[in-house]
């Protein structure tokens, strides 16, 4: 199980890696094609990996219905949704093909900061395990 934990933690590092990269973009760093590609792939791999291995670990040591695990799953969904919106906001062609970008009431950075908060809460939940 320790290697499941190792890869689970590595996938969590991937998620935070994406958050760090998009934070750089939000603060004025160049959102180059390569940087967006790497950031998005880290998010894809990290998101799937943390979920699958997290459920594996939860089934082994805890219950899926423990409050802190349900909170984690909820935060994971929120972060995934916000992450998709941030990705589409930075790369509108991914959402709707070629053409002018869709008008949105939120700036790209809004979605990114919401995702950042969700990931931070997720990490807090993982370590403090409320109601465990």
């Amino acid at each position: 199980m320790e290697y499941v934990l190792l890869f689970h933690v590595l996938f969590a590092f991937c998620l935070v890696g994406t958050v760090v990269m998009y934070t750089a973009f939000a603060l004025g760093g160049p959102a180059t094609k390569q940087a967006l590609f790497v950031g998005d792939r880290l998010w894809d791999v990290g998101g799937l990996g943390t979920l699958v291995l997290g459920i594996w670990l939860a089934l082994d040591d805890y219950s899926l219905f423990d409050a802190w695990i349900l909170i984690a799953l909820g935060l994971w969904l929120v972060a995934t949704f916000q992450g998709m919106q941030a990705r589409f906001a930075y790369q509108p062609e991914l959402a709707e093909g070629p053409g002018p970008p869709r008008a949105t009431m939120f700036s790209p950075t809004t979605f990114h900061w919401l995702r950042t908060v969700a990931i931070l809460l997720l990490l807090l939940d993982m370590i403090f395990k409320p109601w465990a």
């Binding site: 320790e2 290697y3 499941v4 934990l5 190792l6 689970h8 933690v9 590595l10 969590a12 590092f13 935070v16 890696g17 994406t18 958050v19 760090v20 990269m21 750089a24 760093g29 160049p30 180059t32 390569q34 940087a35 790497v38 950031g39 880290l42 943390t50 291995l53 997290g54 459920i55 670990l57 939860a58 040591d61 802190w68 695990i69 984690a72 931070l120 990490l123 807090l124 993982m126 370590i127 403090f128 395990k129």
Partner: protein, 159 residues
């Protein structure tokens, strides 16, 4: 969710330093990845903008997060009582963590000094030398591999 297992069987007082340590480490690794993503094209194409972005990430994200990670590591070690142990009683996984963090701290400082001088020269002469960018990219890549080993040591706890 697995991070929780890192904290399993620990008293409540250890959770905050552990959270700060893990968060610092995660931001540090993310910053190093971003620095490589900016520096590699700069090395290949001699782009001043890419090199500047890469070194800025090292200065404004990697260095502060390294300090946070390292200070919080001492905080965790203190809470767990490892700080009071004689050197030969310290578990291997903690020793691995110390060696990697100290060496990578040195690599980070070297990368920043190289980058600082290279950017200064580039602004004066109007071109980015590839040798300094290449060296910094190699150092940062070595740090990333070392941190993979550190994450392995922290999660599987050998010895």
């Amino acid at each position: 969710m697995g991070v929780t297992l890192l904290a399993a069987n620990r008293l409540g007082e250890w959770e905050l330093p552990l959270f700060v340590h893990v968060l610092g480490a995660m931001v540090l690794v993310g910053a190093l990845v971003l620095a490589v993503v900016y520096l590699v094209p700069a090395w290949r194409g001699g782009s001043l903008e890419g090199a500047t972005s890469g070194f800025r990430v090292l200065l404004y994200a990697a260095l502060p997060s390294f300090i946070v990670m390292r200070v919080a590591a001492e905080w965790v070690a203190d809470k767990e009582g490892y700080s009071d142990l004689p050197d030969d009683a310290i578990p291997d996984w903690i020793g691995i963590g110390y060696i990697i963090s100290d060496a990578s701290g040195l690599f980070l400082i070297i990368s920043l000094v190289i980058g600082g001088f290279a950017l200064r020269r580039a602004r004066r002469d109007g071109g980015m030398g590839s040798a300094s960018t290449r060296l910094a990219t190699v150092l940062v890549s070595i740090m990333l591999v070392a941190y993979l080993v550190a994450i392995w040591a922290m999660t599987t706890k050998p010895g």
